[in-house]
Structures are given as structure tokens and as C-alpha cells.
């Protein structure tokens, strides 16, 4: 081959391209790719947006198929052309027929349904080659963020690749070496691989689509082997999840609702605004402080205010009640009725008032996030953020993730145990047990904050993978004595 020279570069590029782009069937004999193929189709809609979404999904799904090296996506333009050529109206499935006409091994059809704010999408996989019969399935997903639809498809397609080994065919045999129709594209590199039959083969050379292997058994040209090498689907899934989260965060973040620098505002609210508001109006002040984060509609959680008011009252009244309302109200001021233990408890309760005010604030925030469909600040690093918050404020990580009742649960448990340790300071054994229990609860709080998924429904709808929509059924039939029997059923595949 004569190398390209500057003076004739354009013509040579054009000539090389002309050869390279000749219709695939013309140069089929020369092609060194014998990959199984998938034909991708999208149902057509009257809506421009849905059509664009369907095309973006096809691109995205095609990329995943190509990257994971099991099915090569056919050119979408060819697929559309083949679909249009299916003119027989009596034909039951024009998509499969079109895919078959292109020689595809698998047919994938994307359909999209817009149901109010939620977009429900499905990808139907129809194997056209008996070897891939187990791949027949319909993947359904939903989202309110259009940009997430292609990513959800991509993630689902990556997931079905997880347990697909490499299926190879011996295409040539010279001496002890065999040529296989699989190569780097399928994820193979020189090295030893196990076969499904239990033997080991040694791949000595690979190119993109083929490889040379030494096999420990007699095999004829055309025989098939299954190599136990699996695609790295988890990496693609993780990347899709990251992108879905970034899109969701962009759509539902406080910044998207018009607040500048939400992280700074959040910290300022926790450190300055909320304590100030709670000094003025205990309990309700926590709700007022949430407006600093610029929520469009603010509505107090009455239950949250009631709980926090009760707790604030407990801080003040508990020592009084324990001293039968005879002890001095202020901590540190001793009298004949106030024991040192009670004084210690009173100091503890007064000094931990800021923690209760913070818990009340986080609880009100969780409510505001939910009703405003807004995600908290630092949400892309939510696990670390929840962990840090829980380390600083009892139960705060759970509030942050939207779990209000568990948040209050952790808060009350930790405060009770800490208060008990302070009150029974001199009873070493009891304090020891309570200390161990406190440490255990704290660890549970931290673990729950870090590992629990967020409770926000609008986020979970975006984060969920494929869904199995339940099928409802209603049946009426007569019984033995002639009275009707009504049966209502819900069937859900999982």
C-alpha cells in the first residue's frame, strides 16, 4: 500500500473511504467481522420530542451493545430502511421481519409512552437466532427526566450482558492452532481461558475480531465453544447510574430552583439562622429557618413541630419533674432539693438544646424537600454528607435522606442514653452498659445514614432500574350454588 502523501491526500482518503464504505454485503467475504448483530428499531410517534428521545435511546443502547462486545448494532438507517420495506399489512411483527431481512440475530424495539409527567418506556428484545432464545424479554422503565431515558435503557441492556459468555466458532485450523471468530472486541486478550466444558484454551494472538488459540482437544472447523469470559457490564452500569444521578440532581437541585450556592446557604442555615430562629420561636423557628434555602412553597410539618416542641419542653421540664418541681430551674444553681446528679442532667439537657433545635430543623427540611420535590445540597455525595451530619447531630443523616421517623428514633435513643450516662455518672457499671449501648446506637446511626437509600419518591423513580408493572385482572364467575364469585388479581413478574 502506498502511503498517503500531502499532494494526493484528499483523493486517497476518498478512495480508501469509498472502499471501506461499500455496502456490507458486497464486501462480506472480505470482512473479518463475524459478530452477532442486533437490529434496533423505535416505534414512530407524532411527537417530535418522543421521536428524538427514541433515537437518542437507540444510539445509547447501540453504544452499550457495541462496548460490551456480544452484539454489534446494525446501522439505524439500514434498520429504518428495512422496516419501511415491510409493506405487508397482514404481517404480525414488521420489526422482526425487518431484522430478519438484515440477517440480525437479535431485534430490539423501543417504545415510549408519555403519561403526564412520567415517561414510561419499554425495550422489547426478540431473539431471531435460537442460540439467544433466553434473551427474550421486555424491559420497562420510567422517568420524569427525559435525559435519563436513554441512560436507563443503557443500564438495563448492560445488566442483561452480565452473564453472557463468549460464544466462539472455529473458523480455521492450521496445525495445533485454531482461528476463532472472537477477538479483542469480545473482551479477549492473549492468555488462558476456561471453557464451559471445563477445559482451558490458550489464546496466543488476537486482533479486533479474531484470535488464534491452542486448544487441548480435537475440534473441527465450524464447531462452537463457549469461553467463560464475561463483559464488564458493572462498569457501564455504574457510569450510567452516575449520569442518571447527575441529570436528576441538575433537575431537582436547590440550584435548579433558583438558589445560588445552596451548600453555603445550607451551612449558614444550620450554624446561624436556625439557632437564632429557635431562640426566638422554639420548634416553629426550625420551620421558619428553612425558608432561607429558598423553597418555592413552604408549609410546616405540624407533627415535626409538635415533636420538637415536646422535646424542647422535655429539656426544661424533665429535671423539674424528677425533682418534683421543687428544684431550681437554672442549671448549676444548687439548692437543698437538687442533687449533683440532677444538676448534671440539667446542665446536659440545657447544653444539648442546640442539638434538638438542629434535629427539628433537619426534620422540617426533609419535609420541605419532599413537598417541593427538591433534593438536598451535597446530594451527589449524599452518603458521605449523611455520615458527616449523623456524626455531628444525632439522627441527622437519616433526616437528610428523608427518613424522618428513623431520624427522630436515633435522636431520642442517643440523647436518652447520653443523658442516662450523665445522670448516673457515678454508677460505673450502669454507665458502662449505657455507654456500650450508646456506642452501638451511634454506629447503627452512622451505618444507616451511610447505607440507607434516600426516601424521596421523585428521586427513587429516577434511580430505579427496570420495573415490573403489575397486571391487574378481574373475573366474575358463578359458584356451585349460582352466586357470582368476584376475583381480583394482581400479577407482578420479578
Amino acid at each position: 500500500m502506498t502511503p498517503i502523501r500531502p499532494q494526493n491526500v484528499k483523493w486517497l482518503i476518498a478512495a480508501a473511504l469509498a472502499v471501506a464504505t461499500i455496502e456490507p454485503d458486497v464486501v462480506a467475504a472480505e470482512r473479518d467481522t463475524l459478530k452477532p448483530t442486533v437490529a434496533l428499531f423505535a416505534a414512530e410517534y407524532g411527537s417530535l420530542q418522543l421521536n428524538a428521545l427514541a433515537e437518542a435511546s437507540i444510539v445509547s443502547v447501540g453504544e452499550v451493545f457495541d462496548t460490551l462486545g456480544r452484539f454489534s448494532p446494525l446501522d439505524y438507517r439500514l434498520c429504518r430502511k428495512a422496516l419501511k420495506a415491510q409493506s405487508d399489512p397482514s404481517q404480525e411483527d414488521p420489526f422482526s421481519a425487518a431484522a430478519r431481512s438484515l440477517g440480525a440475530d437479535l431485534c430490539a424495539v423501543i417504545s415510549i409512552l408519555s403519561a403526564g409527567q412520567v415517561i414510561v418506556v419499554s425495550l422489547e428484545l426478540k431473539p431471531l437466532n435460537e442460540s439467544y432464545r433466553r434473551l427474550a424479554q421486555t424491559i420497562t422503565a420510567r422517568s420524569t427526566v427525559p435525559m435519563n431515558i436513554p441512560l436507563k435503557f443503557a443500564r438495563a441492556v448492560a445488566a442483561i450482558h452480565r452473564d453472557l459468555p463468549v460464544e466462539a466458532e472455529i473458523i480455521e485450523k492450521i496445525g495445533r492452532s485454531v482461528w476463532l471468530n472472537v477477538g479483542q472486541w469480545h473482551g479477549l486478550m492473549p492468555g488462558r481461558y476456561r471453557l464451559a466444558s471445563g477445559q482451558t484454551i490458550h489464546i496466543t494472538h488476537t486482533n479486533r475480531y479474531r484470535s488464534i488459540a491452542v486448544i487441548p482437544f480435537q475440534a473441527e472447523r465450524g464447531s462452537r465453544i463457549v469461553i467463560l469470559s464475561y463483559p464488564r457490564a458493572a462498569l457501564i452500569e455504574r457510569e450510567c447510574v452516575k449520569k442518571i444521578e447527575a441529570n436528576t440532581e441538575r433537575r431537582y437541585s436547590l440550584a435548579a430552583s433558583g438558589l445560588d450556592d445552596p451548600e453555603k446557604k445550607f451551612l449558614e442555615a444550620v450554624v446561624v439562622i436556625n439557632p437564632g430562629a429557635n431562640i426566638l420561636l422554639p420548634g416553629y423557628g426550625a420551620f421558619l429557618a428553612t425558608s432561607y434555602l429558598g423553597f418555592r412553597q413552604t408549609k410546616p410539618s405540624v407533627a415535626g413541630i409538635a415533636v420538637s416542641l415536646t422535646l424542647v419542653a422535655t429539656h426544661f421540664i424533665l429535671p423539674e419533674a424528677m425533682g418534683k418541681f421543687k428544684v431550681n430551674f437554672f442549671p448549676g444553681v444548687m439548692d437543698s432539693d437538687k442533687t449533683p446528679a440532677l444538676n448534671n442532667l440539667q446542665i446536659f439537657l440545657w447544653s444539648t438544646l442546640p442539638l434538638t433545635a438542629s434535629a427539628a430543623f433537619f426534620d422540617q427540611l426533609a419535609y420541605q424537600y419532599d413537598i417541593n420535590t427538591v433534593l438536598p445540597p451535597f446530594f451527589l455525595n449524599r452518603d458521605a454528607a449523611a455520615l458527616v451530619l449523623s456524626a455531628l447531630f444525632p439522627g441527622a443523616g437519616m433526616f437528610y435522606k428523608g427518613w424522618r421517623v428513623p431520624g427522630w428514633g436515633f435522636y431520642c435513643a442517643e440523647m436518652f442514653l447520653a443523658g442516662f450516662c450523665v445522670y448516673r455518672k457515678d454508677a460505673r457499671r450502669e454507665v458502662g452498659y449505657a455507654g456500650i449501648a450508646l456506642a452501638a446506637v451511634k454506629i447503627a446511626d452512622l451505618a444507616a445514614a451511610f447505607f440507607s437509600p434516600p426516601a424521596y419518591g421523585f428521586y427513587n423513580l429516577e434511580a430505579e432500574g427496570r420495573i415490573s408493572l403489575p397486571a391487574l385482572s378481574l373475573e366474575v364467575r358463578p359458584s356451585m350454588n349460582g352466586e357470582p364469585i368476584y376475583r381480583v388479581g394482581a400479577v407482578m413478574a420479578f
Binding site: 502511503p3 484528499k10 482518503i13 479474531r210 464475561y230 462498569l235
Partner: protein
């Protein structure tokens, strides 16, 4: 012998936004400059190549490889931009057409480039220069090109490239001439001097060696780093080190308040703030309790001072006057280095090895924080402070007050333990200073998000309803 450099084609195929359409030609120019700099390949006009590839719809892998093979290219590199608003994913894929690759991907990198700053054409150009340099150096690190034995004359084997050194010699198997890929075997080793091997009887014309370009890769990588360093930092000067020496003490003293507010909060470095909170707490406790305990219970009082109180007192002074400087440095330098990495202006006071050495000397991890190496910084911060505290404790034994003589008497130190700890501390400190001086600043942009290699557990059901368990190590392109 006139040597024709092998051809390298480059084209940006994927661009999904107006911004990436702007970046595409800039990246093409950058990669051409990089290829020209290394002089290993001859680049094909990338704009023309992209135009033609798109015109013919030759953007899928099969077509690209066929095209590159037909056009006689040795390497075909494609780049794809995936613009995600505040960041962009740039994927480079280099196909090797010659042996030993035979159309395989020789190198693939996926980089996430943050795009949150304000950029003009200058910044975009620099960014693309950097990415092109980093990719091409990584490509060259692993790339091998064949050099064939072109003639056998007078007992000498002449090779197509004037290289010197020992090389493995390979021969293509004749019986696989019609197959793809071609099989080749190693037939021995040869010593070349400027592309000539003498007295090698078994070498035949057409045998080949594989040449590596590691030196060129290192040079390119170092050039890319050096160029960026010059662009984003001021030239180092000793006056900056002098300022650092003057300010280190006060900075350490005000660190507990200044670092979180003026540093992390101001630069929105929330991860840094969280790390600061948890990592600094034990040492701040030692500092405050050590000083407070000593002054309230032992200062000018005729009481025995326990070793622990003395140790905390001395360590408290150290952490107040010098040790706290590390986190002060982290709170400022990390954000500034991020800005530098993102081409957001020229950053003062950074990139000076003398300052890095000085900071590493006076405060644990400060030199590494100054370089933007947070993980190393925290490692040295804890190692230094813990070793120093225990060393101080060993050298400050209990000071007993003798009521009879009305004097303080210091207890004996346990010499082997004390000097062992001191030696360990000095060893760590020496290593830290050298490391801080020699370390590079963490100013290269982008994060590699796919290395191509992974180890994953596997558990699958097979066709006979059995199970396959194991660990899979995969290198995937």
C-alpha cells in the same frame, strides 16, 4: 536510508453539543502538534479526515479500521466528546493497524474533564493541548511498532529503523499467511547498532523486532506537565518561601478558625472541610487540653507534673506554633490548585519546591498539601504528629516535686524507646521532605474514569444448571 515515518490518522468522531463542536478542531490541532513533536508518526490532516469520514458516514469501528488499513495508516486514533453540561467525557481510542496489534485497540482512555469555570478560546486550546499530550504519552508508553529486517548483506542484517540495543526477533508463520490475525513466533534475540546487526546467521529478510517508545512518552508527559506548570503558576522565588516562613507560625495559631472559614468555606471545598473536621479534632484536643491543663494545674505550682501532662503541653505548643500550618495550607492550596488545573488564572505562591520542602519540614504533611496531594498530606500529617507526640512524651518524663528539697526532679527517660521513636520520626520526616520537594503538583486536569482493567467477582449459572464462581480479571477495550 531515507526513513518514511509511519502514518497516524486522527479524527474527532463524536461531538454532541455546540461546545464540543468548538473543541473538536482545537483537539485536532493539538494532537497534530503533539504527533509532530514526537516525530514518531506523520499525521494525516485531521480536519480533512474528519470531514471525509463524516461525509461517507464511516464512523463505526468496522469502517474506520477498514479505511485505516486501506489508506496504509499505522495508527488510527478517534476521539469522542460526550458533553454533560458541567463536565465533559473525552474518549480516545487508538487502533494499531500493524503488527503486533493487527487492527486491535492499542490504547483507550476515558477522561472526565470538569467544565465549570469561565473559558475563552485560549483556555480551551490549552486544555486540549494538555489532554492530547497526556493521551499520546500514555499511548506511546505501551505502543510497539515493528521494524523489519530489510536486507542481508555481507553477514550484516539491516533493519528498517536505526535503533540500537537488544531486541527480541519475531518471524511470521508462513502457513498463516492467508489468515487473520497472522501468527508470529519469537526466534531469538539480536543486538542492533544503529539498525545493523552483525553475524546473525539465523535472521531472514522479513523478520521483525518490536520497538517501544517509552523515552519519548516520558519526555512528552514531562513536557506537558512542565508547560502547564509554566502557564498556571508564577515562576518560583525565594521571597515566597520567606513569606511562608514568616506566616507559618501565625497561620498555625489561627488555623482552627481560619482554615474552615477563610479556606474551605470560601472556596466551597466541602470534602476538605469534612476531612479537616475529623482529622484535626484529636490534635486540637491535645493542643487545647495540653496547654489548658498545664497552665491551670501545674504552672508555677509545686506539684508533680506527670509525663502525659508535660508531653501534651510541649506538643500543644508545637501544634499551635507550627503543626497546625499543614491544614491551613490544605485549606488554601487545594482550591488554588484546582483552579490552576482548570486554567482559571495564574495562581501565586504555588509550585515552589523550596517552599514545599520548608513546609514539609515544619509541619506534618504541609509540603504535600501545598502540592495538592491530599491523601499523601493526611498520611504524613498523622504519621508525623503521632510519632512526634509519642517521642515528646518519651523525652519529657514525669517531673516530681520533692517536698524535702523543694525542687523538681525529672525521672529517667527510657533511652532505647525514646531514641527509637526519635529515629523513626526523623526517618519519616526526611522521607517526607524529599518526597515533598520531588513530588509533582496535582495540577493536571481531568480524571481518568476507565482504566481498562478490573478485577470482579463472578458467580453465574451455566447451561447445565450448575454454578460458576470465581474472580475475573479483565482488560477490556
Amino acid at each position: 536510508m531515507a526513513l518514511e515515518a509511519p502514518l497516524a490518522g486522527f479524527a474527532v468522531i463524536g461531538a454532541n453539543s455546540p461546545r464540543s463542536l468548538v473543541l473538536a478542531p482545537l483537539l485536532e490541532q493539538s494532537i497534530v502538534r503533539v504527533i509532530d513533536t514526537t516525530a514518531i508518526f506523520k499525521p494525516v490532516n485531521p480536519s480533512l479526515l474528519r470531514e471525509e469520514l463524516l461525509k461517507y458516514g464511516c464512523t463505526d469501528e468496522d469502517c474506520l479500521i477498514r479505511f485505516a488499513r486501506d489508506a496504509g495508516l499505522s495508527v488510527m486514533i478517534r476521539a469522542d466528546f460526550d458533553d454533560q453540561s458541567d463536565y465533559c467525557i473525552l474518549t480516545f481510542t487508538a487502533y494499531g493497524l500493524d503488527l503486533p496489534y493487527q487492527n486491535r485497540i492499542a490504547c483507550r482512555t476515558v477522561t472526565r474533564i470538569p467544565l465549570r469555570g469561565r473559558y475563552t478560546a485560549d483556555e480551551y486550546t490549552r486544555m486540549m493541548d494538555e489532554q492530547a499530550g497526556l493521551f499520546f504519552s500514555q499511548f506511546l508508553y505501551g505502543f510497539q511498532a515493528p521494524a523489519y529486517c530489510s536486507a542481508l548483506t555481507g553477514g550484516k542484517a539491516i533493519w528498517s529503523r536505526p535503533v540500537s540495543g537488544w531486541f527480541d526477533v519475531y518471524r511470521l508463520r508462513e502457513d498463516t499467511a492467508a489468515a487473520s490475525p497472522r501468527s508470529f513466533v519469537k526466534i531469538g534475540r539480536v543486538r542492533l547498532s544503529a539498525g545493523v546487526a552483525e553475524g546473525e546467521a539465523k535472521i531472514e529478510k522479513g523478520d521483525f523486532i518490536l520497538i517501544r517508545f517509552v523515552e519519548a512518552a516520558r519526555l512528552l508527559e514531562s513536557l506537558t506537565y512542565g508547560k502547564k506548570r509554566e502557564m498556571v503558576f508564577r515562576p518560583p522565588s525565594l521571597s515566597e518561601t520567606a513569606y511562608a516562613a514568616l506566616l507559618a507560625g501565625p497561620a498555625s495559631a489561627v488555623m482552627p478558625l481560619a482554615a474552615p472559614i477563610a479556606g474551605y468555606y470560601r472556596s466551597n471545598d466541602w470534602a476538605g472541610a469534612a476531612l479537616w473536621l475529623f482529622n484535626t479534632a484529636p490534635y486540637l484536643y491535645l493542643e487545647i487540653s495540653g496547654l489548658a491543663d498545664y497552665f491551670s494545674n501545674y504552672y508555677k505550682k509545686k506539684r508533680t507534673v506527670p509525663a502525659d501532662a508535660r508531653g501534651r503541653f510541649v506538643f500543644g505548643w508545637y501544634f499551635m506554633c507550627a503543626g497546625g500550618a499543614s491544614l491551613m495550607v490544605d485549606s488554601f492550596a487545594y482550591g488554588m490548585i484546582k483552579k490552576a488545573a482548570d486554567y482559571q488564572g495564574v495562581q501565586p505562591f504555588l509550585g515552589n519546591p523550596v517552599t514545599a520542602g520548608f513546609l514539609a519540614l515544619i509541619a506534618g504533611g504541609a509540603g504535600h498539601f501545598y502540592r495538592g496531594l491530599r491523601a499523601w498530606g493526611y498520611l504524613y500529617f498523622h504519621a508525623d504528629n503521632m510519632l512526634l507526640y509519642f517521642t515528646i512524651r518519651e523525652f519529657t518524663p514525669t517531673r516530681r516535686f520533692n517536698i524535702l528539697t523543694q525542687r523538681f526532679e525529672a525521672a529517667q527517660i527510657v533511652k532505647p524507646r525514646a531514641y527509637s521513636l526519635l529515629a523513626a520520626f526523623l526517618a519519616v520526616k526526611t522521607g517526607e521532605v524529599i518526597h515533598a520537594v520531588l513530588a509533582r503538583d496535582a495540577l493536571m486536569g481531568g480524571t481518568t474514569i476507565e482504566q481498562g482493567f478490573s478485577i470482579e467477582p463472578v458467580c453465574f449459572g451455566d447451561a447445565t444448571a450448575g454454578q460458576v464462581w470465581g474472580i475475573q480479571a479483565a482488560w477490556r477495550f
